[in-house]
């Protein structure tokens, strides 16, 4: 009994409540709405690119209540994600007879959970209400992201295998070989950045960029030096390799071989329906958001915007400081949204690779470029003491 009381007294409740509040805010108020509106943006942007209209008129379904017309919102179509979500929840949840039931149910969970848990270490703002805007400020931030993201492949592999039919199986196999191949160049392309900054903590990565300018836009702090200009080369290479590998890791279009609908029906989630399918879908978009926020944190200065004043942990409890904190959070997600637009734009512009081209690109080009880039950065840093 005493042990139990001691344990309860020793738990840092304040810290825990703050962490849970931040998690709930991040996942339910920011990321999940962002996911559903990314799906909507995907449909509108694809329509724009293909010279169509897209879903532009989902309003309140007042016609169900006997009115002549549906009530249109002032921005027609923004109700579409709500309607999509309702559709996913109300559809029949069908489990085919030939599947391996336990794993069939496990797979959507394994696809969704890692994608959301990587967000724990991403700093999405400066300070708000006396709290640092990151759920877990650990000293191995970026390694944690890579580790947890590499767990995500299990969801896809198990989905493909447990469906017990050939197209999902092929999709699952393709997905796992693709993700294993591109994880290498993803990790290696981040190494030059870490060599430059000398810290794995993502908050420190942003702090470095506040002091020395964003890595990809190195003059945001107003200081021009030759060293920055020389280092910009390897950083730009690693940005390009990182972004391409991130596309491959999230199975986005030039690399969407695992679910290429023209040859594999829908790949690993062919046999899934209703909410279980929705979880794969949401997991994929959540992985996109995590990937974009990682690119923002590593190369584009995170929540920092030049000329915008900083708030401190004390000032963030007053109203002006809190508003400033909110602006920082919005800056972060505005950058993420811009990258998401890039993801969508590329999806509807480029055709799909062949599988051997995909493997060749990963192993023969990106991997070597990333490796050579590490040596290049090391040489520059060693010569420029």
């Amino acid at each position: 009994m005493n042990v139990l009381l001691d344990f309860i007294a020793s738990v840092p409740w304040g810290l825990m409540t703050a962490a849970i509040a931040k998690t709930l805010f991040l996942i339910f108020l920011v990321v999940l709405p962002l996911v559903s509106y990314t799906v909507y943006a995907e449909r509108r942007v694809s329509a724009l690119i293909q010279d169509r209209v897209g879903p532009n008129r989902t309003g309140f379904p007042t016609s169900l209540l006997g009115f002549q017309k549906d009530l249109q919102l002032f921005l027609g179509g923004l109700g579409q994600p709500v309607a999509d979500a309702m559709k996913f929840m109300l559809k029949e949840e069908f489990t085919p007879g030939h599947v391996n039931k336990v794993y069939f149910w496990l797979a959507p969970i394994l696809a969704m959970v890692p994608a959301l848990s990587t967000l724990a270490v991403v700093p999405f703002g400066n300070f708000m209400l006396g709290q640092k805007m990151v759920v877990a400020d650990v000293n191995v931030g970026i390694l944690y992201v890579f580790a947890v993201a590499s767990i995500g492949v299990y969801g896809i592999v198990i989905a493909g295998w447990s469906s017990n039919s050939k197209y999902p199986f092929l999709g699952g196999i393709r997905a796992s070989s693709q993700m294993i191949s591109y994880e290498l160049s993803l990790g290696l392309s981040a190494v030059p950045v870490l060599m430059l900054i000398g810290n794995l903590n993502l908050s420190e990565v942003i702090q470095y960029q506040i002091n020395n300018g964003w890595l990809l836009v190195p003059f945001t702090n107003g200081v021009f030096t030759l060293k920055k200009l020389v280092l910009w080369g390897p950083i730009a290479i690693s940005f390009i390799v990182f972004t391409i590998s991130m596309f491959a890791e999230t199975n986005r279009l030039p690399f969407d071989l695992p679910e290429s609908e023209t040859e594999l029906v829908a790949g690993y989630h062919t046999e899934y329906s209703a909410m279980k399918f929705a979880l794969f879908f949401l997991g994929e978009y959540a992985a996109m958001i995590v990937g974009s926020s990682l690119i923002v944190v590593l190369f584009l200065g995170g929540w920092h915007l030049p000329l915008l004043p900083m708030n401190t942990i004390e000032s963030s409890e007053t109203l002006p400081g809190a508003i400033l904190g909110l602006i920082h959070i919005s800056v972060f997600f505005a950058k993420v949204a811009a990258l998401l637009f890039l993801f969508i734009w590329i999806r509807w512009t480029l055709p799909r690779f062949r599988f051997d081209q995909l493997m060749k690109l990963g192993w023969l080009y990106l991997f070597e470029i990333a490796l050579a880039n590490i040596f290049l950065t090391a040489a520059i840093l060693a010569l420029w003491k």
């Binding site: 000293n139 890579f146 947890v148 592999v157 295998w161 196999i173 796992s176 070989s177």
Partner: protein, 155 residues
């Protein structure tokens, strides 16, 4: 973790065994994180759960080992395994019972945050530089060996 470990051995389905092993790796990583050794915990997940076991699972699924499920237990192997594990447990209890520090809690480290990545790096590249390089050469030799062995004869 122990439950996952037991289910690795007891499961007849190779895929279930492999997944239990993944679960046990994750629990091991959680133990490391509980000891504030974030770096080792994360590396545990990254290397074992994220890379090695994915390849294992990949190969198990491709081989489609249905025969494994039907195979009966080998009595002799079962008895041998039992004896070895009981002996190991007895030895472990014997050693731990003699360990006098077992009742004391760990001394606090004295620092708020440990920069363990940097510490591991400096230790590895200063005190253990030679073994580290030798291991690197060993891995290279193994890689070359695999390439030589798996290369088919050109006709």
């Amino acid at each position: 973790m122990l439950a996952f470990g037991v289910s690795v051995v007891l499961n007849r389905d190779p895929v279930a065994s492999a997944l239990s092993l993944v679960g046990s790796f994750l629990c091991l990583a959680a133990l490391f994180v509980g000891l504030d050794a974030f770096f080792i915990g994360v590396i545990q997940i990254l290397v074992y759960a994220g890379a090695v076991m994915v390849l294992f699972l990949f190969i198990i699924m491709l081989l489609d080992l249905r025969a494994e499920k039907r195979r009966h237990f080998n009595r002799l192997a079962l008895a041998g395994g039992g004896i070895v594990s009981v002996a190991f447990a007895a030895e472990l209890i014997h050693v731990l019972a003699q360990f006098p520090m077992g009742h004391l809690p760990f001394r606090p480290l004295g620092v708020e945050k440990l920069d363990d990545v940097r510490l591991v790096g400096t230790t590895l590249f200063s005190n253990f530089n030679l073994p580290f390089q030798v291991v690197g050469v060993l891995v290279l030799v193994a890689t070359v060996g695999v390439v030589v062995l798996s290369r088919r004869e050109l006709k």
